[in-house]
């Protein structure tokens, strides 16, 4: 096994570890930090079912964004939808046998690559051309778009520019997953290294590494956002009139018992 293969295997174990632990740590923090007050942005749903619908519309169609900024919505939605299809397409590298629905969408994955590029470029152009957005952008905001774009482009390059032995590549991935490592295609003796593949994989690892520390946390964040996930029911239930079902955080209860003044 070449040094390059070993380096990539280690990189991916490291990236996966950071990604999973980091993500879970952040989500754990969100879940365990109390939301002491009812602050849904109203009009808000009056029951849990309604909240599921509200979040569904937000997650799948970016409803609020659609209301506020049509261009950002268009590019953003293109990019995310395409990303979703692309991720599904890539499942074929991780599963054996490949599920039928995943087989079916394979051709769409390629179109999605182009759609995603257009979406990303659109967002990036806005970041430069609209003074308001330029004002709030810092290097990391540009970097994130460039990183994603580079991942898509290097991915498409493997389809159209440099031939990649995907059968061998799948064996490599499955090997990582089952701890039975094999060589990365294009790293054997006498083989020409597949630069597009190397770049693509490296950038994906980078993405995984920075995900938990970056604004990409907006993905889990949305589900924990009190303005969107709370039910509008502060006075609905008779039960709210008893101590047990008052919506009140533990820290607030603690301070209540300390500062018994005023009553």
């Amino acid at each position: 096994m070449s040094a390059l293969t070993i380096a990539y295997i280690l990189l991916f174990y490291g990236a996966a570890l950071v990604f999973v632990i980091g993500l879970f740590y952040r989500i754990f923090k969100y879940a365990t930090t109390p939301a002491p007050l009812k602050i849904p942005t109203t009009p808000a749903p009056l029951n849990q079912r309604g909240v599921v619908f509200r979040l569904f519309w937000e997650v799948v169609f970016f409803r609020s964004l659609f209301r506020s900024a049509k261009w950002i919505w268009l590019f953003g939605w293109m990019f995310h939808l395409a990303l979703f299809v692309i991720v599904l397409r890539h499942l074929r590298y991780f599963t054996d046998p490949v599920w039928a629905p995943i087989e079916l969408i394979q051709p769409f994955g390629i179109y999605a690559g182009f759609v995603m590029s257009v979406g990303l470029i659109g967002l990036w152009v806005r970041r430069f051309s609209v003074a308001r957005v330029r004002y709030v952008s810092v290097i990391s905001d540009h970097f994130m778009l460039v990183l994603l774009l580079a991942i898509v482009v290097s991915g498409l390059a493997m389809k159209y520019v440099v031939h990649t032995d995907i059968v061998a590549f799948k064996t490599f991935i499955l090997g990582i997953m089952s701890f039975q490592w094999v060589s990365l295609p294009g790293t054997g003796a006498g083989e020409a290294p597949n630069v597009a593949l190397l770049i693509h994989l490296f950038l994906v690892a980078v993405l995984m590494l920075i995900f938990p520390f970056s604004k990409l946390m907006h993905a889990p964040g949305l589900f924990f956002c009190p303005t969107r996930n709370q039910i509008d029911n502060p006075r609905a239930e008779r039960g709210l009139r008893s101590h047990e079902s008052r919506h009140v955080a533990q820290w607030a209860l603690d301070s209540e018992s300390v500062g018994k003044s005023g009553v």
Binding site: T41, P43, R132, G221, R241, H243
Partner: protein, 497 residues
């Protein structure tokens, strides 16, 4: 105060042509003196190691409020909110774009609480908390009326109001509090209301109202104070006791209760619906004020609590009261706790318990201003969006000529009056006038299209703010009316036939 230019009202609401960086950095409220700070549990003046204290406080708040933590991490700088804030639209100062306002906080958060910010501050826009940053916080967190308009339009529901509240709490905790709000809170603790109106004066005022109504209508409508055993405790903003046009609303509440045969009282101990504890972001102070209402309800032995016309007060009442001062198991379980006066009146109208003569308001062509905190942070009635429907139905039951402003400026897209969130003070006059521009634009539009003459509101702050800023835009201060003033005009007193 420095001279400033009132923004011109155009044909349509226009995006600022260019960003005027720092054009509002000079605008900040007076700093609280020790006697305003200390009763609230804040240090009298800026403490020596304020940076450390501030960062520690920030850490504490991050552990207490999920909203803060999630909002600070989630923003993708998409820019969707950048043109949604009335203060940005009115001032063109880029730091009044909601995301930029958040970033003043976020950049400090990143520097001290995130790995990226500790390792590569430049790349992710992380900064140390220093005097310059504190000054910026002071200016721009007092240019947010906590109206939540940005939160409606953000794809992740990020509510800049939450961040403003946290920033203000941190500043107050290091000894730099806002004079206007803190002085008022201290007055509530000492006397019971924002205006510092003591019990005898309150009784006097209410007796005066009884006489006025008697003179005008010949009917003895009661305006009771501290009556034990009344059914309803009315908690209303203290401005209702004498400011114009607020007091006309209070007269209206009294007439409604009178006609419906509901016994009611105000309390001199809890003679204030407003709760500025929310504006300064202080849970403890907000709770202390809310507990006064609980105590008054218990002492007077009432069955229901009804709130008068006030925006943020209704938010604190509707959304927070059970949390802060519950449980209210001692009240009559037939009624929601608490109720809004609009809900009471609306219900009575629906049941045919009031006789209303619309022609009494025929001289008026009315539009309605949705107050931010009612529109985006609370509800009325039993369906989502009832807060938009009920007040309009009450108005329409009282006047023949009602016209809504443009659809992107009402309901949950409503524009703030420009004076909410603890900014209703003369030291922020320039900001208040400029921030009112989008609302004034919409008002001008209905004035031209439908010859609207009056702007009805259900918030004490909105009413005061409009009275003050309307003249800057070529309107007159008496064009703003209370919704219950319209009820008061239309209601036919006396026995029902």
């Amino acid at each position: 105060m420095a001279k400033f230019e009132t923004p011109a009202l155009k044909e349509y609401l226009e995006m600022p042509a260019s960003l005027k960086k720092d054009s509002m950095v000079h605008s900040g409220p007076f700093v609280a003196a020790p006697q305003h700070q200390e009763p609230l549990g804040f240090p009298g003046e800026l403490v020596d190691n304020w940076q450390d204290v501030a960062i520690e406080k920030m850490g504490e708040l991050l552990g207490k409020y999920r909203s803060l933590r999630v909002f600070l991490d989630s923003c993708v700088k998409c820019g969707a909110c950048t043109d949604k804030c009335h203060y940005f639209l009115g001032t063109s100062d880029p730091n009044n774009m909601p995301v930029a306002r958040q970033d003043l906080f976020r950049s400090v958060y990143r520097r001290y609480f995130t790995l990226g910010g500790k390792l590569f501050p430049k790349l992710v826009g992380a900064v140390k908390l220093d005097e310059g940053v504190l000054d910026q916080w002071w200016s721009y967190y007092h240019q947010c009326s906590q109206c939540r308009r940005c939160s409606v339009f953000c794809p992740y529901g990020i509510d800049t109001a939450e961040i403003s509240m946290a920033a203000r709490e941190i500043m107050a905790s290091v000894g730099k509090g806002q004079k206007y709000s803190n002085e008022i809170i201290a007055k509530v603790f000492k006397i019971g209301n924002n205006l510092g109106l003591p019990e005898p004066a309150l009784v006097d005022t209410m007796e005066g109202l009884e006489e006025d109504v008697k003179d005008e209508t010949g009917v003895a409508v009661r305006y009771p104070v501290d009556v034990e055993g009344a059914d309803v405790l009315l908690v209303t903003p203290s401005a209702d006791f004498f400011a114009e046009p607020h007091v006309d609303g209070l007269i209206g509440y009294g007439k409604v209760f009178h006609q419906a045969g509901i016994s009611w009282t105000v309390s001199s101990y809890a003679s204030e619906a407003a709760n500025f504890g929310m504006f300064v972001g202080s849970y403890e102070n907000m709770r202390k004020i809310a507990l006064r209402i609980r105590k008054a309800a218990l002492d007077l032995g009432v069955k229901r609590i009804v709130f008068g016309e006030c925006g943020h007060a209704w938010r604190v009442a509707y959304s927070f009261l059970n949390t802060l001062a519950g449980p209210f198991d001692f009240l009559d379980s037939k009624y929601p706790v608490p109720q809004h006066i609009i809900e009471v009146t609306h219900d009575l109208i629906k049941r045919g318990a009031l006789t209303l003569d619309k022609s009494a308001n025929d001289d008026k062509r009315v539009t309605f201003h949705d107050s931010c905190n009612v529109a985006r942070a609370s509800r009325m009635g039993d369906m989502p969006g009832g807060q938009f429907i009920l007040p309009r139905e009450v108005i329409k039951a009282c006047c023949s000529h009602f016209f809504d402003m443009a659809s992107d400026t009402i309901h949950d897209s409503t524009f703030c009056c420009g004076g909410g969130g603890g900014l209703l003070t003369d030291d922020l006059m320039e900001l208040r006038v400029k921030g009112a521009m989008p609302r004034m634009q919409a008002l001008k539009d209905v004035t031209e299209r439908h010859q609207v003459t009056h702007l009805a509101a259900i918030c004490a702050i909105c009413k005061s703010q409009f009275s003050k800023v309307l003249p800057y835009y070529g309107f007159t201060m008496d064009q703003v009316v209370s919704v219950h003033q319209l009820v008061s005009e239309a209601i036919v007193l006396g026995a029902k036939d």
